[in-house]
Each structure stands twice: as C-alpha cells, then as structure tokens.
C-alpha cells in the first residue's frame, strides 16, 4: 500500500502545479465585480449574526418562562401569553436584519 501512495501522490502534486496558472488567471479577471462578492458575504454574515443574537435572546426568554412554569404549573396560562409576546418582539429585530439582507441580495 505504501508503494502505491509513493506513485500516486507525486503525480497529484505535479498536476496541481500544472493547473496553477489557470487558477491565477481566474483570480485576476474577477477584480471588476468584487463588490458583488462583498455584498453577498455581508448579507450572509449579517443575517447569521442576527440569527445568533435572536436565538440567544429567545432562548433566555423561553428558559425563564419555562422555569416559571416549573415553579408554578397552575400559572402556565398567565406565563405563556407574555412569553409569546416577548418572543415576537425579540424576533422582530431579527426580521429587520432579514429585510436588510433581502435588500442587499436584490442589489447583487
């Protein structure tokens, strides 16, 4: 098995070195539309960070509501409604980031 690796591996490395000029040519010709790449990366990362913050915030809200229900199961109806309102308000901030991300992607 080791001898097979010694024959295949140098061939692969040689092929990589032979294809490098073609890759370099691709990178140089994409300079004119670089702003589209930045726009796409911005839209994706922005939405990701918004989802991260929204997930953490909603997790804290739901966790506190669940511990309140665990303490006092009779009050589950009165805890559920404010929890839903809180979740919807936290989610609205994530939705603002989604709208900005839609705007950015439509400008691509």
């Amino acid at each position: 098995m080791k001898s097979k690796l010694y024959t295949v591996l140098p061939v692969m490395v040689a092929l990589m070195f032979f294809s490098m000029p073609a890759l370099a040519e691709e990178a140089a010709s994409g300079g004119d539309n670089l702003w589209r790449g930045y726009l796409a990366i911005g839209a994706g990362i922005g939405m990701g960070i918004a989802a991260l913050g929204g997930g953490i915030g909603q997790g804290i809200a739901a966790g506190n509501a669940l511990s309140g229900i665990a303490r006092n199961p009779n009050a589950s109806g009165k805890i559920f409604t404010p929890m839903i309102i809180g979740l919807a308000l936290i989610e609205s901030l994530v939705i603002y980031a989604l709208v900005i991300s839609y705007l950015l992607v439509s400008m691509l």
């Binding site: 309102i85 919807a88 609205s92 939705i95 989604l98 709208v99 839609y102």
Partner: protein
Amino acid sequence: MYHYSWVQLMEGAVHALNGLGLSGDEPLAVLWSWLVALFLMVLGLVGRLGLNKARARGGMLQYVPSTGLSIVHVFEIYIESILNMATSVLSLKDAKNYYWLVGGLFIYIFFSNILAVVPGGMAPTSNISNNLAMALVVFVVFNVEGVRRNGLGYFKHMAGPVWWLAPFIFVIELIGVLVRPASLSLRLMGNMVGDHTVFGVMSELVPVVVPSIFLGLGIFISFLQAFVFTLLAAIYIAMSVAHEEH
C-alpha cells in the same frame, strides 16, 4: 359574443392600478386586500343579522345567548377575547373607546395573513405599503389622543424626569416614537415574506409531504403577528393616554 374571463378581468384591474402609479406586486396586493375587505363586510352583515335576531327577542331575552351552534357565537368569542386583551393594557372605558381600532386591526391582519397559507393566495400584508398604511393610522391615533387627553403635557413627558437632560432625552424619545410605524410595518412584512419564502424553498427541496409543516407554522405566525400588531397598537395608545398619574 366576446367571452371575458377572470384572468382578463384581473389583468385589466392590474393595468388600471399600474396607470394609477402602483408597480411591482402592489396592484396584486391591493386586489387581494379588496377581497379581504369584501369578506369582512359580508362577515359584518352576518353579525348584524344575528344581532337583529337577538334584539327581536326583546326584554332580558335579548342578552341570552342563542342555543345551538350559530355564527353569532363566533362573534361573541372573538369580541370577548379582543376586549380581554385590550383591558390588559388599557382601562375598560378606554378599551371600549378604541375598540374600533383594535378589533378591526386584528381581524383584518389575521385574514390578510391567512390568505398566504391558502394555495395560490398572496397575503396583502406582505407588501410594505399595506402595512405602512395601517401603522400610520395607529401613529396618528395615538398622537392625536395623547395631545387631546394631556395637552402639552404629552410633549413634556417626552422630555424625561430632570430638566438638564431634557434636550438629550427628548431627541431619543422622539426618535423612538417616530420609529414605531416603521417597526410595526416592517415586522409584519418581514414575517409574511420570510414565511412565504421559506415555504417556497422547502417545497423546492422536498416537493411532497414535508412542506405542510410550514403551512402549520404559517397559520401560527399569522395569528401571532396579528396579535402582536394589535397589542402594540393598544400599548402605544395606553402609553400616550395614561399620563395622568404622576
């Protein structure tokens, strides 16, 4: 005899609305919102007929609910639930005063959102102009009621507790008040458009049974967003009107 079809009628209506200056998907949103308005008018007529039938019983009997299942029961459940929600933030007298806004907003937004779940339907609330119209109505109502009830004290309350921080806090509060219509309309539009888009993408991935879960999520989100919009409208009115106890 030239046979017209519904498609030609819709295209003619879209063309007319384009001539009025609407573009993009706004003509379709306007047409769907007319459908919702028509449906709500029919519902109102049904409720009125039920109320007349109850009043015709006369005396104390008119307050007794009718036996058997009838559409009037649905109206009673709905009105009582919205009144409970409004009285959790407003006083009972104020809840009855502004019930026209709160009750109307909820049922209009709920039925507009549900249209997105129906196959082939488009929710008129997925267009920002529709939501902005409703949010501007809420904005005008809570400002006018705040000035009418509290006079200039409405603006004095926006200046904060101490006088030497007043310019700073006044600007912050003013921006917070001005951003309320934008946040209301963007929240509703973003939820509806995002929900519809997620359902579309999921249907492309797995065309068969799995996307029906997103239809259920769509119904839940429709109800929740109508509830949040209405509750926030009630809260803004409560915050503007309730400045007497200082």
